[in-house]
Symmetry: C2
């Protein structure tokens, strides 16, 4: 059956009308598929007339090359992964949401500008989705040495660039990070210059390089200037713990007269704690925290923040990754250190003394 004499096409008669393939275009244009491919991709040796003709026929048929087929053949998907640590169900940690959002936005832009699209993936390499998406390369934010994600990717030959120094000896192709020591030192100096005598630190208990480097820099600074360290550490992924730690820090007998908080919500938490203890900011307590949130421009008082410049980081990371994918740039690992920006607001500057008389206050005064 179906042996009816229509010998015009060797393709099955009942072919689905779904989408035009390159073979359909070739047939309609009266050329070979090679010619179609070359014409559409600007390759081969073809006169302009042929190119135009093929392009026109392709347009008429609404031809869209199959990305999957192209990826399979060329080994390039045009996709780069962005993987972020996951606590619970949500990607992005709560405490560093603004950072990740900005960084991801910049990374997306940078990727798009170079013709790549960005896919957001969970940090656990065990998630199914990793197996189902063809990646040309991956950006890993704060890679941990726990998860074998990076090693696994590298083993598969996928270029990996990390935001943050890789822990241990992870074989990333490049990394980008801030100069955290320098940042902490500049803040401590800034606070000292504003009149701080005892600077406290609100830090984290986790072992990521950001926390470690910052804390170490603080301790070294204390040693150098001869100040006793005054700090509280808490699990940074727990938003409530931050408020408690801020409270602890300000209720200590050796209460600091200036505090730097390493995490985004610390500003709010410290402000609230200061209010509880009747401390005026900046008169009784100078405040700086690391944050990308613009909200600290509108608090009372506005809080000085350290920006890690996630936009720059996201852009740089993607550039390095795509360079690695495309084989341009140096073959050896690249390490790029980016500056931070201290946005100075009222909370870290002593007011010109208007009322002078402000006796030392005891702790535990309500919201007078």
């Amino acid at each position: 059956m179906t042996a009816a004499g229509n010998d015009q096409a060797s393709r099955p008669v009942g072919r689905r009308l779904e989408r035009a393939g390159i073979r359909d275009v070739a047939a309609a244009a009266g050329v070979s598929i090679t010619t179609v491919s070359d014409a559409l991709n600007g390759k081969g040796r073809l006169p302009d007339a042929t190119r135009r003709h093929v392009r026109e026929v392709a347009d008429r048929l609404g031809y869209r090359p199959s990305a999957a087929a192209r990826t399979l053949r060329t080994g390039r998907s045009g996709l780069i992964g962005l993987t972020v640590t996951t606590y619970g169900e949500e990607p992005f940690t709560f405490t560093e949401f603004a950072y990740f959002a900005e960084m991801a936005r910049a990374a997306t832009s940078a990727a798009l500008a170079r013709g790549y699209a960005l896919v957001i993936l969970p940090a656990s390499s065990r998630h199914d989705v990793w197996a189902n998406v063809a990646l040309d390369g991956t950006v890993v934010i704060d890679p941990s040495d726990q998860d074998p994600l990076v090693s696994e990717l590298v083993r598969q030959g996928v270029p990996v660039v990390s935001d943050g120094r890789p822990a241990g000896s992870l074989p990333v192709h490049a990394w980008v990070d801030n100069d955290h020591e320098e940042a902490v030192l500049s803040i401590l100096d800034h606070l000292s210059a504003a009149g701080a005598r005892r600077i406290g630190l609100l830090t984290g208990t986790s072992t990521d390089t950001y926390t470690k480097l910052s804390t170490t820099a603080y301790l070294e600074w204390c040693e150098r200037v001869g100040q006793e360290p005054v700090y509280e550490a808490y699990p940074a992924h727990d938003p409530c713990a931050g408020a408690v730690a801020a409270d602890r820090l300000l209720s200590r007998p050796d209460r600091p007269d200036a505090v730097y908080g390493l995490f985004d919500p610390n500003g709010t938490d410290l402000l609230a704690a200061a209010r509880r203890y009747g401390l005026r900011v900046p008169d009784d307590l100078l405040l700086v925290c690391c944050s990308e949130s613009g909200g600290y421009a509108g608090t009372d008082p506005p809080i000085t923040t350290l920006s890690l410049q996630p936009r720059r980081i996201g852009t740089a990371v993607v550039q390095l990754l795509i360079d690695a994918i495309e084989g341009v740039g140096p073959a050896h690992p690249v390490q790029q250190v980016m500056p931070t920006e201290l946005i100075i607001r009222a909370s870290s500057q002593r007011r010109p003394h208007r009322t002078t008389v402000s006796p030392p206050r005891g702790p535990g005064r309500g919201q007078g």
Copy 2:
């Protein structure tokens, strides 16, 4: 040449050592590639022993199926697109950054939870990247009728779900939106209840449905309660224009004693403008704005905000999209209207006059 007697494999001798393919696994396990595929995907009729054996060999060889090949064969990539309007170079509009960030985050989570990954794409369908990525479906935020993106996607058979009612008669498979009329009315009622006599609106000049619906609802409310409309419209994508418009609104001869701002930065802008004109908030001016930014909890005073609940929207949109992709759920277009949330803070509540002796309290007063 190379005719040396090793007839063990018909594959070329110098095969690259790159990655093990399904054929390698089949050869190593002494079975056919069909058996490998079935064993690994839990299909076919195979005894457990064979399944285990194949799995073990695959593990030993570090076999990872090629996502590209699978996509080519099955027509499923496991990728869904999220496309956002682009102003200039950055994806996400500046004014609604927090909204998009939260929405994208929720969408990413929801997609991941169902085994899909999310790709962020530019709103212009002309961008090359659209042709290079195989999408199972797309979420479009605030689709405009200018860009033929949606029609083009639908023509290609790609399911499309939109966040925001589609303008014109775009053939989306489903949409999700807030009940903007209801939201505006509830805010106006809230402000009235707080003592507002003349409520102003800070709105936009663009023609998207959010702006249109909200403005219309305001005008109708004014007509119903017999208030003369007092509003200023400005191009919402221009951050400076917002500050100017806020200033204009508060400098009018018929100055409102309460204002609702449709866009995220309006709260800050109105607060600054109020300060310039010596207006105390909430005593002289009640303020509400639509925002997802947590920063308004920390301003002085804290500002009441309307949240569009981008998390819910992002989740819902992705669920609908994946339902459409997988063919579950209703075949006909779905329209889902989500509630908003009014987060009441000091800026929209007349302060209880503390200096006076507290009058008899009515029911439902706050935390006494």
